[in-house]
């Protein structure tokens, strides 16, 4: 065990990131994926440092831009297991446009968003998921913006795999992560996570009280029911796989990639080039 190793991190002791990282390592171990076949991608933020803290290929890119790089790496080599770990600011704020459009693109990657409803790296400003009235050093009158509901947005935008996890429920999180990694398409998981340093509202105790695993008889293939369930956030916050639908992923839809040969293993024949040159004569 511990193929994915343990490293010193720059996270605060008690941060929810630790249990998310451990759940991820467990999920990868249990799936039997080799570290050199995994590509971890992050943008910028505390969560986005995750790729630095496990033994796997890593791509720590620009703020908000993890998804474009991740999907293109997968397009280049579908033999890689590509996983994005990044925060709510990176995924929904700076990278919001990529979030919507990569749902549409449906490349076979897993996207794990560490959602602590606050900006940690920049020391405590409102994030797209911060609650209304949330007071910070910038939102001095309280957050005036309506919080984004990421799982609702994902289902509405046509995502085929939408789940919500909680960093405090490792057992469920490992199971969700494994399903997400195995799902043949874009799999999105919003992970509730306390920020013990800056978020004094959405604390561990708050999430522990609010997080409610979906019932065993919940049917994740019913889109309308999934939308209804996603909208429930005031009494309890449902966790688990909210929506699941089989859809053709990017590689299967793409006329060049759908034969299964990774793009990087294709050679362009000289004859093709000669024909193309000839087409201009």
């Amino acid at each position: 065990m511990d193929k994915f190793k343990t490293y010193e991190t720059a996270w605060c002791p008690g941060c929810g990131n630790f249990s998310i990282l451990n759940s991820l390592k467990t999920a990868l171990e249990e799936l039997g994926i080799e570290p050199n076949k995994v590509l971890m991608v992050g943008g910028i933020g505390q969560a986005a440092k995750t790729p630095q803290y496990l033994n796997a290929n890593s791509f720590c890119g620009l703020h908000g831009r993890a998804l474009p790089a991740a999907v293109a790496a997968k397009i280049a080599n579908e033999e890689l297991t590509v996983i994005v770990n990044s925060g709510d600011g990176d995924s929904y704020g700076e990278g919001g446009n990529h979030f919507i459009h990569n749902i549409r693109r449906n490349v076979n990657i897993a996207h794990f968003v560490h959602d602590n409803q606050i900006y940690g790296l920049t020391k405590g400003q409102a994030s797209p998921t911060s609650g209304e009235g949330f007071i910070t050093g910038v939102q001095t009158d309280g957050n005036l913006n309506t919080p984004l509901n990421p799982v609702l947005l994902a289902i509405a935008s046509g995502a085929g795999f939408v789940a919500r996890g909680f960093s405090g429920d490792s057992k469920q999180l490992v199971s969700i992560m494994k399903e997400a990694i195995l799902y043949p398409g874009y799999a999105f998981v919003d992970i509730l996570q306390p920020c013990i340093t800056f978020n004094k509202v959405n604390t561990f105790a708050y999430y522990k009280n609010m997080a409610a695993p979906l019932e065993d008889d919940y049917d994740p293939t019913n889109r309308l029911e999934a939308i209804r369930m996603s909208m429930e956030v005031s009494e309890k916050i449902p966790t688990g796989i909210l929506y699941r639908e089989d859809r053709l992923d990017f590689h299967r839809k793409n006329g060049i990639l759908n034969d299964g040969t990774p793009l990087i293993k294709r050679e362009t024949q000289d004859q093709v080039l000669k024909d193309l040159i000839g087409s201009f004569i």
Binding site: I75, T268, L273, I281
Partner: protein, 555 residues
């Protein structure tokens, strides 16, 4: 050499008409040089193409016209002063243009087309008439029309052309040229084809004029060449996708025009610090902001050589003509791979949309450099090396773990804030410039070796400058030469320092501030004495440059 203008409103079929004519004329042996001038609209306005053809190599457009094919009346009003005395104006009989101008040649084009059952075929009447006017046979037209037209409308257009052919008498003599077996290709197509030759596997872009032609060409050959062409949600996604694909081992390129390039700037620096090979194309148009979307300018030079915060090595290559676009794009992909740097290709609307005859590209000498160095002992992605180039393995194709980081990082690719490592890493990256500078291509010299006046230019001004030097030397007053840069940053200096001595220097640029002159002054202390600058969005021609130089003036 002949020069005709085909003008009309957007949507009247100017593009198709020109494309048929240039193919037919090339087939009969002529060298072709066609430029396209159009407005940023889908219908209406005034668009035109200049089709210049002859039996020698042509490098510039010209406004001395032998003929005007006017699909609307406005075309005649705007361009009649450019028409030679013995030229012709071909237009519809219904046009309100006075018959007292003996150059006018009215044909019932619209009537013929309507009688044939398709009003839109009137431009094909003009095609037939032009062929006859220039003494061309009516033999190859069916093949060419079938190539650019839908099957349903082919017959009616052929009949329209036949009617036009019958309606006029030959006016010019057919000249025998040797270019039948040459390629006829636009700058953007040549750029795309160069990328195919360079092993491109992934191209991502957001549509933006005038760079869309590259996107469209690559999309059209994607299946054949095994290239994934992805339309990104925005330019930021486009460049970050290219970086992700490149990291994973696919040769990747992204293309746009000025405004889109602005959005890609942060990622350019990411390519620099993370040492991920990237080719970024900027097909320039007049800025700033939206500027003149469908027109031409060379005003992004100083922007792209300094784009992105921080310092990192980069290469900027300005494409000079269609042939250069092919070979330099191939080379750009190789150099990006070899030095693990961003390479920026500067094209522009003039070059991108112009078609010219080119000797068929020779791929026998083109060899792709390998993308990775073998790891010895512990694999360190950012190993400190003498030449600054570290071993780049491809994730998943090796047992080693491969890292890329936009933060400053140590040799393993892990984030660090160590002052010592920072210095080592900056120095390592910048050391790559030494090798890069050694393989820069010097600017091309043309003209009289011991000239008195030296023109300096870059990129697509190459052709017009070449024609100007030739015209100026024929004129007999003074002697002229020119240096035209392709590789432009880092600035190659050897020939420049050699030729600049004791000569009157005139920079010729399609911008308002003389960006090349400024770069030369900054890098070498050499000052240009005069400058010819054009920034109205319309490409300067060889004849215009000649006129301004002879008038002794700067502009």
């Amino acid at each position: 050499m002949y020069n005709i203008l085909i003008g009309g409103a957007a949507g009247q079929g100017i593009d198709t008409t020109v494309s048929i004519l240039e193919k037919l004329l090339k087939h009969s042996g002529y060298y072709i040089y066609t430029t396209r001038d159009f407005m940023s609209r889908v219908r209406g306005g005034h668009n035109f193409s200049l089709l210049r053809f002859g039996t020698e190599v042509i490098t510039s457009h010209s406004y001395c016209l032998d003929g005007i094919i006017a699909l609307n009346e406005e075309t005649i009003d705007i361009h009649k002063h450019e028409l030679k005395e013995q030229g012709f104006i071909l237009c519809d009989s219904s046009f309100d243009y006075p018959d007292t101008d003996l150059r006018v040649l009215k044909l019932p084009m619209n009537k013929i087309a309507k009688e044939l059952g398709n009003g839109k075929a009137s431009a094909s009447v003009a095609v037939g008439a032009v062929l006859k006017l220039f003494g061309e046979p009516f033999t190859y037209i069916e093949e060419v029309m079938a190539d650019v037209m839908k099957k349903e409308i082919l017959e009616v257009n052929l009949n329209a052309a036949k009617a036009g052919y019958a309606a006029v008498e030959a006016k010019f003599n057919h000249l025998e040229g040797g270019y039948k077996d040459y390629m006829l290709i636009s700058g953007s197509e040549a750029l795309g084809l160069g990328a195919v030759a360079g092993g491109l596997k992934f191209y991502s872009a957001y549509p933006m004029s005038p760079s869309t032609a590259v996107l469209e060409y690559l999309a059209s050959v994607g299946h054949k060449a095994g290239i994934v062409v992805e339309q990104a949600e925005d330019e930021i996604a486009a460049v970050n996708m290219a970086l992700g694909a490149s990291f994973a081992g696919a040769r990747a390129m992204t293309g746009t025009s000025g405004g889109g390039f602005c959005l890609k700037v942060e990622a350019l620096g990411f390519s620099g610090i993370a040492e991920i090979p990237l080719v970024a194309v900027d097909v320039q148009r007049p800025g700033p902001a939206t500027g003149l979307p469908t027109r031409t300018e060379q005003s992004d030079l100083k922007f792209v050589i300094s784009a992105s915060q921080g310092e990192f090595p980069r290469l900027v290559i300005a494409l000079r003509n269609q042939e250069d676009a092919f070979y330099q794009t191939f080379r750009a992909l190789n150099l990006a791979e070899k030095y693990q740097i961003p390479v920026i290709l500067l094209s522009d609307q003039y070059l991108g949309d112009s078609t010219a005859c080119v000797k068929p590209f020779d791929i026998s000498g083109l060899k792709q450099v390998s993308h990775a160095k073998e790891a010895q002992g512990e694999y360190l992605r950012y190993r400190i090396t003498e030449d600054g180039i570290s071993p780049r393995l491809i994730p998943g194709l090796t047992d080693h773990i491969v890292a890329a980081d936009s933060d400053e990082h140590d040799e393993r690719g892990w984030i660090t804030e160590s002052a010592e490592v920072r210095i080592q890493m900056v120095d390592k990256r910048m050391r790559k410039l030494k090798g890069l500078i050694e393989e820069l291509s010097e600017p091309e010299f043309m003209g009289v070796e011991h000239c008195e006046t030296l023109l300096l230019g870059w990129g697509s001004a190459y052709g017009p400058i070449k024609e100007a030097v030739s015209l100026l030397n024929k004129n007999g007053k003074g002697s002229y030469g020119a240096l035209v840069f392709g590789d432009i940053y880092p600035l190659p200096q050897e020939k420049l320092k050699f030729y600049a001595k004791g000569r009157t220097l005139i920079n010729v640029e399609q911008n308002a501030t003389g960006q090349l002159a400024s770069l030369i002054r900054e890098q070498t202390g050499i000052e240009c004495h005069k400058s010819i600058l054009k920034y109205d969005g319309r490409q300067i021609s060889g004849e215009e440059i000649t006129k301004i130089v002879l008038e002794g003036g700067s502009r």
